[in-house]
Symmetry: C2
Subunit: 197 residues, 2 copies
């Protein structure tokens, strides 16, 4: 579903008003049959031979993914990666917004990156009063668990973690991990043939 949303958003931004499952499938490199099956969940939305109205489709998928309301996120760790995230404009199209950023390094605290002022981690508990649902963890891996504990206590219920270390949370808190090294490590498997090493 998130992938369908991305594809639909991109096609819509290219001026495509009506999206057929075939077209979306071609664009995303997927099987159109799979897309039709998944979209059948929406009921009678697409027109046979024409496709789905792209704006309606975006709304429906967003609703399924609960992206139909704006969600606020807190970022912890404003190193190179964290700064890149703050400057990255791509979250807004999913209705996501980083509204607070924290770091332990006092030389970073007080600065503003991507329109967000960096606060000191000692104030992380204030997240509780700010209606923040999501947390992004970009701290060194030895601090990750401690930071997670703090923001979970402050009411964060979904976490995106860049720490390669396994993170423990209460069952009600969902963690999605991005382990860049592991993703890169998946590639050699697909290398066909052999080069001289």
């Amino acid at each position: 579903m998130p992938l369908y949303l991305r594809g639909t958003l991109e096609l819509a931004s290219q001026g495509v008003d009506s999206i057929s499952s075939q077209r979306l499938a071609d664009y995303l490199g997927l099987n159109p049959w799979l897309i039709r099956k998944d979209f059948s969940y929406f009921g009678d939305l697409g027109k046979r031979g024409v496709g789905y109205d792209s704006q309606t489709l975006v709304c429906r998928i967003k609703k399924v993914l609960r992206l139909d309301v704006t969600r606020s996120a807190v970022l912890v760790g404003v190193g190179r990666l964290g700064s890149a995230l703050l400057e990255y404009g791509g979250f807004s199209r999913y209705g996501l917004q980083i509204v607070a950023a924290f770091d332990r390094d006092r030389t970073r605290v007080g600065g503003t990156i991507g329109g967000v002022r960096v606060e000191h981690v000692d104030g992380l508990g204030t997240v509780k009063t700010r209606s923040i649902d999501l947390g992004i963890i970009a701290v060194p891996q030895e601090s990750a668990q401690e930071v997670v504990n703090t923001i979970v206590q402050a009411g964060v219920r979904g976490i995106l973690s860049f720490s390669p270390r396994h993170i423990v949370t209460p069952r009600r808190v969902k963690v999605i991990s991005i382990d860049i090294a592991m993703d890169l490590a998946r590639l050699p498997y697909y290398l066909s043939g052999n080069r001289k090493q």
Copy 2:
């Protein structure tokens, strides 16, 4: 399999010599039955009630994933994200090494980050003579496809892309995309109950 490798490496680094499927399952939050099934591929490797020798297991999984030889990667785009990747030490445990980095910004060219000298993108074709299998794309999305075309022509056969835009490659070239915004957008679906918005 990559996840098993990460878990095994972490447990081994904690001094665990013998890893049972149950222990690995607990560590990774998976079903031990699934792990036993996948590991049955290795044949008679584990000892009943004892588990797998962690070093042997690491070697076997690396072999399956073709990580048993060192792989070289080229990084294109040395902005905040690219710099973070160059400084990140986590690739080596998978036998991966970023050996070259390119950027179009002349103020960055010539500098050294994480031990790698930044070269100008005009020289990207030289990748061909350097036995580089993998490419990491951390350039602005409007340049991503062009950069991919160049490194594919230079012999790169696996690409890790941070561009949210869909990338086209010949079938023989595998692309793994990391779309951070999309990963964050997966979280709201799991938020149970409702907060005041």
